[in-house]
């Protein structure tokens, strides 16, 4: 197992300088996620317009490079996409991380695909899967406006 496959430059960059970090001024959906074993936590905010488009989203929290990078990349990719599309991406993400499926059919720009796939290395590090998936679970909870924080121990 090669560590540089897990910690690609893109991940290190997003881990150290997360995009869309902070609390949105205007949001109508939010949810919290927590990984009690590691202490990773995330609070996700998003604004969903009447047509079901995520016009903006951001996150706050702390965690390891994988969890911060995954959150940062997720917010970049999901921004300006529909809720339906976001759900599809979520499914694709879990398939990629857990079953090592590739993304042939996914409808993303080349740049987005590279970002999305930068997290695929986690597949070879089962102990770290939770770190990468926490934000996506939290995204789902945010769409549902779930009050109870997501607990990665219970889900994955």
């Amino acid at each position: 197992m090669d560590l540089t496959e897990l910690y690609q430059d893109l991940i290190l960059d997003h881990g150290q300088k997360p995009r869309n970090f902070g609390k949105l001024k205007l949001y109508n959906h939010d949810a919290k996620g927590h990984n009690p074993l590691c202490g990773d936590n995330i609070h996700l905010y998003l604004n969903l317009d009447k047509k079901g488009i995520v016009t903006d989203l951001s996150f706050e929290g702390s965690g390891c490079a994988i969890s911060v990078a995954s959150s940062s990349i997720m917010t970049e990719i999901v921004k300006n996409k529909s809720e339906k599309k976001a759900q599809e991406l979520l499914d694709a993400f879990f398939k990629m991380i857990k079953d090592n499926n590739d993304l042939k059919k996914i409808d993303l720009t080349e740049n987005e695909k590279i970002k999305f796939q930068s997290l695929s290395g986690v597949n070879k590090f089962p102990m770290r899967v939770k770190c990468a998936t926490l934000c996506w679970h939290t995204l789902k909870a945010a769409f549902d406006n779930q009050k109870q924080p997501i607990n990665s121990e219970v889900i994955d």
């Binding site: 197992m1 560590l3 910690y7 390891c64 590090f125």
Partner: protein, 400 residues
């Protein structure tokens, strides 16, 4: 180094590259302990305390002689030792039984900010009875600040429960001074000795505490067995903790009377093989000599601290103590879990997280840390491998 016992631990034959620096979490097992369990099931097994036949009598004798061995090992002559599931259960027993009979609304319990969750959560449950919990504070070095101990212990303080050695900083609690004050006010003291028993000589009689809790699995014995020393007087004063077989004297449709002594607190079938493994673990500790073990472990930790001090961007949790078997740290700019993944690639086992001490971590404004903890089987090369891996980690994350 003064001792060489690594060859007695089969795990290091199986995983030649393993650098196990997580003994504070649980220790590896020597062959004598593994054989004892195997032998018990192969040629000595029966349930204890139930049958009159020879096999049962012998098993019971082995079980009970473990208790005597433990009492002698810890100089626990002024009370007796109850077997439980783990240190956590031992501490729950004290909190529940003491809380039931001796705590009322407005009473105070004194703990410290260093406590493992297992010496806080069971007491927290008593807040339902409107009981106040106070904490001895930790200073910036991660040491307990007992300058105000006399005012922290008030007329309302009904019990004090403290760790013997912190499982995050490795520091010994100044128990003698605290117990002195407690005694002068007739306040019982409970000690969580989980990180002490396998690493330093413990003399319960001299400590003069009322309760002393620990786990077998951190002292080279099997999982599934914990211990609780209680001073004699509490055996009558406490109601039973759990109800069931083995803890009764007489049962009828209306009334039940309970057994006396340790039996009152050992309900149901006990983990006999695991308890007996503890006797062999103590034999191992006695043969290796706790004095030698402490010296060996302190040397390794001193060596590690001096190497760490030469590296940049290492932040210790509190001030590390050279006379210890563990310390915790972070690498500035890299999350503990990322570091731990890098270590794992080099077969280095180190615990990353809050080590069940969130109060202490929050005090230092961190969510997690890495804990290096050594046992009898560790050698200097393990520390060297750890330092190598830290350099590798920094390189990967582009940190100096």
């Amino acid at each position: 180094m003064s001792i060489s016992v690594t060859s007695q631990f089969p795990i290091f034959k199986k995983y030649k590259k393993l650098v196990y620096l997580d003994s504070a979490n649980s220790s590896q097992k020597p062959i004598s302990v593994i054989n004892a369990i195997d032998n018990f099931y192969r040629s000595k097994y029966s349930n204890i305390g139930r049958g009159v036949y020879t096999l049962a009598a012998n098993a019971t004798e082995d079980y009970e002689s473990t208790r005597s061995t433990l009492k002698e090992f810890l100089k626990a002559y002024n009370g007796d030792i109850i077997f439980t599931k783990n240190a956590t259960e031992s501490l729950n027993l004290v909190a529940k039984c003491f809380g039931e009979n001796f705590l009322n609304s407005g009473d105070e319990i004194l703990l410290s900010e260093l406590e493992h969750h297992s010496n806080y959560v069971p007491w927290h449950f008593l807040r339902k009875k409107k009981i106040m919990i106070k904490f001895i504070p930790v200073n910036k070095d991660g040491n307990l600040d007992i300058t105000n101990i006399k005012s922290l212990i008030t007329n309302k303080t009904k019990i004090i429960s403290l760790t013997h050695i912190s499982n995050v900083t490795g520091k010994k609690t100044p128990l003698k001074k605290i117990i002195e004050v407690a005694k002068s006010k007739n306040i019982p003291v409970c000690i969580d000795g989980t990180q002490a028993v396998a690493h330093t000589a413990v003399n319960i009689k001299e400590l003069d505490c009322d309760f002393y809790a620990f786990s077998g699995h951190k002292m080279y014995a099997a999982t599934g067995v914990g211990c609780l020393f209680m001073k004699d007087k509490w055996f009558e004063k406490f109601n039973p903790f759990l109800g069931g077989g083995g803890m009764i004297q007489d049962v009828d449709i209306k009334n039940i009377t309970f057994a006396n002594g340790v039996s009152k607190f050992e309900a149901g079938t006990m983990p006999a093989a695991e308890v007996i493994s503890l006797k062999f673990a103590i034999d191992f500790l006695k043969t290796t000599k706790i004095k030698n073990i402490e010296k060996h472990e302190n040397e390794l930790i001193s060596y590690a601290i001096s190497k760490f001090n030469k590296m940049k961007n290492i932040i210790f949790v509190g001030k590390p103590d050279k006379s210890s078997s563990l310390f915790s740290f972070n690498i500035k700019g890299i999350h503990a879990h990322d570091v731990s993944t890098v270590f794992d690639q080099d077969s280095i086992a180190v615990r990353a997280g809050h080590h069940c001490c969130q109060i202490l971590h929050k005090k230092f404004n961190i969510a997690s840390s890495l804990r290096v903890s050594v046992g009898v089987y560790n050698v200097k090369q393990d520390i060297d491998a750890l330092c190598e891996s830290i350099l590798k980690c920094k390189k990967l994350f582009k940190i100096q």
